[in-house]
Symmetry: C2
Subunit: 693 residues, 2 copies
């Protein structure tokens, strides 16, 4: 349930029939910084970014490992992102400080007031090295799938270890691109001392709530500011983005630098059919159940709301995104366009030399077979995926104890040597587990587990231990010590997982079936798909002569496109909204529920310039994970902050189009206007605008 991750971004269903099927469409592309769209930018916009321009934007971009994007926006390590990206940290700090910062907002007038986040980690990409040849050489064609996985994993570990320098906070990750068609070694500077600087009230950041989510026109101040510290001092940033004095104009070319989470554009028809008929319906069914469960629980009391509303928002967000995706997949016109694309690739493969041709055609079949296996294992995958932080912790502790007895090369990948630091950090995070909330979720998981196999199944009976799902969940959650940080730390350090703890005992009970499931999924689904997709990706890249980009993988990408309105149901939707629109929308909806104005906004209305642009749309190719990305102009100055895509952008998961699909941003001018006049935070506006005190 990585929240901002699934902020998906499209295609107006009705317009698809008229489209031809070019390899690249208009401003399409989530480009690698190692292969930017120089040709397109020059030809269409007459703009030629220099290597320095690109490097500056790259090194000003920040990845939130909790699932989102951000950027450095001052020389003193100030980081800009979305409120909804920072929500997780606002929640955790609220728990610790017993003040609801998520709801009420937060402002640190001095650096001493800035609050350190318990487990937030930010990464800044420093360098990229192509290691495709080395990784591929580790796997030979005669290897069994399980051996291939292991061999590749060992090579990757080796490369990562060589690139990592813990002392300097440097981490190296091998990222998989083009579905295994390429491997790049990304080196990051990793920051772990991140402090909260400013957040508006949730009502301002998420005005319109779930009803207006993925909609446009919008009026959201979805921003949040953190500061990176190093050696207990604000980070001095060589690379940070300047603020634009004028903001963006309609039709002006803009750029987005961020971390799109996942797209499925290179999926074969077999994979899309699976998603359409099985995968998405299954996820949506789970999301709907959880939305109803959490929604009704959260509404019961103010205390419940605090505990569950962030998860609830994440679920609602995923739900809207998936519904949009399903609608696209269920549109025969869109689906046929994907079929045509595949035909074109098949036709190209037919022209290749015999061995490549055979491999290419076999790859389609291998993927189709793997999808059948995926469908076969879906029930087990869902049933054993207990929605409980306490269970997850218990399982990790148990496996850690078991795996650390093995040689590093024989361990599950997440217990590889280079992963232990982040494993420890996340496992020993001080975030408390709320017993009642955890019980609610665990009871639901146990109930679903019983439904999956029937309540009379032997394993179900052992898991429930003669109790109802509710009673059993309460017994497990209130009885486990894994949610106690001191105990958890002790067991982790001692590499032990005592089965006298009820949750660890449960993790042991399901350890064999869950390991077996993981093993066969890896061997029969993931690895065959990885190999086959790499073959197809190679063919596709050859067909496209390199002028292409890989599917999104939560790695840094560059997108571009002009600020631009669109037409909907015959009406023109302008590119910009204004602050006046916020007050109108609130009035229309009776100033109630998610449309209720924060008090400060009511009080300060008179002092605001209501013509200030508030949110705007552009054609940039983004998707979930891009939340919090900076929008910059050709001078590299901040003109906006990505926070959403419109409803028509929800099929960007599979296919790009710019007829109606739009990325939605907060305008830089609204941020400064609100900071100065609503929040009396001129100091922060000054820092953004580079005005020295």
């Amino acid at each position: 349930m990585s929240r901002p991750f699934y902020r998906a971004a499209a295609v107006a269903a009705a317009s698809l029939a008229m489209l031809s099927t070019p390899t690249l469409h208009a401003d399409e592309g989530m480009w690698l910084y190692t292969n930017p769209p120089l040709k397109q930018l020059k030809e269409k916009y007459g703009f030629e970014p220099t290597p320095q321009w690109l490097e500056h934007l790259q090194k000003s971009s920040v990845r939130f490992n909790s699932g989102g994007s951000g950027s450095f926006v001052s020389a003193d390590g100030l980081v800009m992102t979305n409120h909804h990206v920072g929500a997780d940290d606002l929640q955790k700090l609220s728990d610790i400080k017993k003040v609801d910062y998520l709801k009420l907002g937060f402002e640190a007038r001095t650096k001493a007031d800035e609050l350190k986040c318990p487990d937030l980690i930010l990464d800044v990409l420093q360098s990229i090295k192509d290691v495709t040849a080395e990784v591929k050489a580790a796997v030979t064609p005669d290897m069994a799938p399980a051996d291939a996985v292991k061999a590749r994993q060992q090579k990757i570990e080796e490369l990562q270890k060589a690139g990592t320098d813990k002392a300097k906070g440097v981490r190296a990750d091998v990222v998989t691109l083009f579905a295994g068609g390429a491997y790049h070694l990304y080196t990051f500077k990793t920051y772990t001392d991140i402090r909260l600087v400013f957040a508006p009230e949730k009502q301002a950041a998420f005005f319109g709530g779930d009803p207006d989510n993925f909609e446009f026109p919008r009026f959201d101040l979805d921003m949040c500011f953190f500061r990176v510290y190093e050696d207990d001092k604000p980070l001095k940033c060589e690379h940070h983005l300047k603020w634009s004095a004028a903001g963006a104009k309609e039709n002006e070319l803009t750029f987005v630098s961020g971390h799109p989470g996942r797209t499925n554009r290179q999926n074969t028809v077999a994979e899309l059919e699976y998603l359409r008929d099985i995968g998405y319906p299954s996820v949506l069914s789970r999301l709907a159940r959880l939305e109803v469960l959490l929604g009704s629980w959260v509404a019961r009391s103010e205390e419940n709301r605090k505990k569950g509303e962030d998860d609830l928002f994440g679920i609602q967000n995923s739900r809207k995104a998936r519904i949009g995706g399903l609608q696209g997949l269920q549109d025969p016109k869109l689906f046929n366009r994907k079929r045509e694309e595949e035909k074109k690739l098949r036709a190209y493969i037919e022209t290749l030399p015999a061995a490549e041709k055979e491999a290419g055609l076999k790859a389609f079949d291998a993927i189709a077979v793997a999808q059948k296996k995926r469908a076969e294992y879906l029930k087990d995958t869902v049933a054993f995926g207990f929605n409980s932080q306490a269970f997850g912790t218990a399982q990790t502790l148990l496996r850690y104890a078991d795996e650390m007895k093995k040689e590093p090369k024989d361990r599950l990948p997440e217990f590889g040597e280079t992963r232990l630091t982040s494993l420890k950090r996340s496992l020993l995070s001080p975030v408390p587990v709320e017993v009642d909330y955890e019980t609610l979720k665990m009871a639901d998981s146990l109930s679903q587990f019983a439904i999956a196999y029937g309540a009379d199944n032997e394993l179900v009976k052992r898991v429930l231990a003669g109790k109802s799902p509710q009673e059993r969940a309460y017994e497990l959650v209130s009885g486990t010590k894994v949610i106690d940080l001191a105990t958890r730390t002790k067991w982790f350090e001692a590499k032990e997982a005592p089965e006298s703890d009820p949750m660890i005992a449960l993790a042991r009970l399901v350890d064999e079936p869950t390991r077996a499931l993981r093993k066969k999924t890896e061997a029969e689904v993931d690895e065959p798909k990885r190999q086959a997709s790499a073959v197809l990706a190679k063919a596709r890249a050859a067909m496209d002569a390199g002028n292409t980009y890989p599917d999104a993988t939560f790695t840094l990408r560059l997108s571009y496109g002009p600020v631009k309105g669109y037409t909907e149901n015959g009406k023109q939707v302008p590119a910009f909204t204004t602050m006046a629109g916020l007050y109108e929308r609130s009035k229309q909806q009776g100033n109630a529920g998610p449309f209720e104005l924060p008090k400060r906004w009511e009080e300060k209305k008179q002092s605001l310039d209501l013509t200030t642009p508030f949110n705007f749309v552009s054609t940039a190719d983004i998707i979930g994970g891009n939340s919090g990305s900076p929008v910059v102009n050709q001078a590299g100055e901040v003109v906006g902050l990505i926070f959403d895509g419109n409803i028509q952008s929800l099929v960007l998961d599979f296919i790009y189009d710019d007829t109606q699909a739009r990325a939605v941003s907060v305008d830089s001018r609204a941020m400064v206007e609100a900071l100065r006049k609503v929040y009396d935070a001129a100091w922060l506006a000054d820092e953004l605008e580079g005005k020295k005190k």
Copy 2:
């Protein structure tokens, strides 16, 4: 989605282990008026109701055919029920009058102001005749299931026809009891001129909304008043309930006369297993999807809210009830109690003469086989059940046209001669269909249809006609003329259903598979179960020596039990709440959302006696359909109005217990206090209290 029908009512899971398994438990029972619990009442409470007492209560009781209960409460045909039972009519009148009575409430100060409901029908039970022997004689053991169904149906039609006197507004229904163990001919006086008299604001009636639904303590004024007219004059009621001057006291014996919708207490273990592992999970999954779909749509605008909120409430209500039911079924201790009950019945059957014994044991097997078939047909049943009023209308018009060409005896039962009047009335109801709302629901149904069979299935392709579910739904709903009353009336009168209409064409397209599905469900599931359940019911009745009651069937029943608090998590929950509690709960919840007080209640707070009892709980055995039932004391005077069951009552569907399960009522004193002091409706309070002007 018959809303108040699933107001389910229980057993504290934790307490079940300690219970023995008597045939009847404490104040258990939804008793037939022909077999009231005289023995229990006398023994436990020393109360002996006379035949006149029973007849008066029976004839004062009213059935809302839209799914709820009510009662005559004045000599001038005034009918009391719940706001949520009347909600459907409030919505329809709001549509017609373009004023939101559902939200704002309604008051007719004079009879001339009373608003006639477009399609509300009320039934009052006049007489009951046992026709078991006649109905059973129509079916001989050598008949094939389909023939048995037809023969029984013909006999039932014949009895109903003989008992019906249209001119006098008298209708006769053969009701099936004990799962086919008994058939009774119920004769009703049917009223069709029903006018709205008074309703409070929804915020007062449904204070606490979905979060507090099925919870206690509660503070809801869930009441609504209608008036029955005959020959354009208020009905003169010989039988109507007097108002109690003093209300009820803690531990006082009370009675509930109403129409519990459905219980499954006589289900075999095979049936309960089906519900636990398949049936309830399937319904809950559908409800969660619809709750999310409608919930997010309703929140988008005030207009949407008006169109969808009543349905949404119905879905939330069903969801809570089903979750409660599932929790009970998934509790091994409760389930084992049901297994013990079945063992006891089996043991009794073993003692019967050979033929009866064989039939009894075979019946268990027949039910188990039928449940397997039910599971097999579930997917089709759900997939073809399009959630669209327009589709339903088109299908009825089409089948009406087809069936009316046949002999009456060969028709589908709903087109039998005695059913045509009510068929016509419901089909030609003037309630408008909202195109956008209907499109939303139909698009969801079409999407689910495509998921059920895969988008590449031939019938799916024909149903979608090359379009996305959204486009296709819009085309169907905006193109069909069946939602136009004049056209619908013309086609109905002419017994035609032109397939040039897109929705009728769709109904034709799926007519063969849906008829086939219905036929095999009837032959392989419903009829075998009916026969087998009748055998078991007979054995059970013999075992219980007649001292029992049939499962609920939305027919009139008498329940009883004292007003009584309970203990929850070690704390005592008092039987009564007060008006002061309303203001406290609202304050706790920030006076927001479903906890926002209506303005009038804020203004009139000072004039109210805040110690007035507001809601109370009793041990009476009720379930969904009982909503709106009067609660009377031993003198037959109104002391309350049933509107809910607490969360612990949600397994009453399967088993009765009085440890924590409680029926929740509005106190009669709160109704009068609010009418006089909040609503300035002394005229109505006077009419209730029998004070002549």
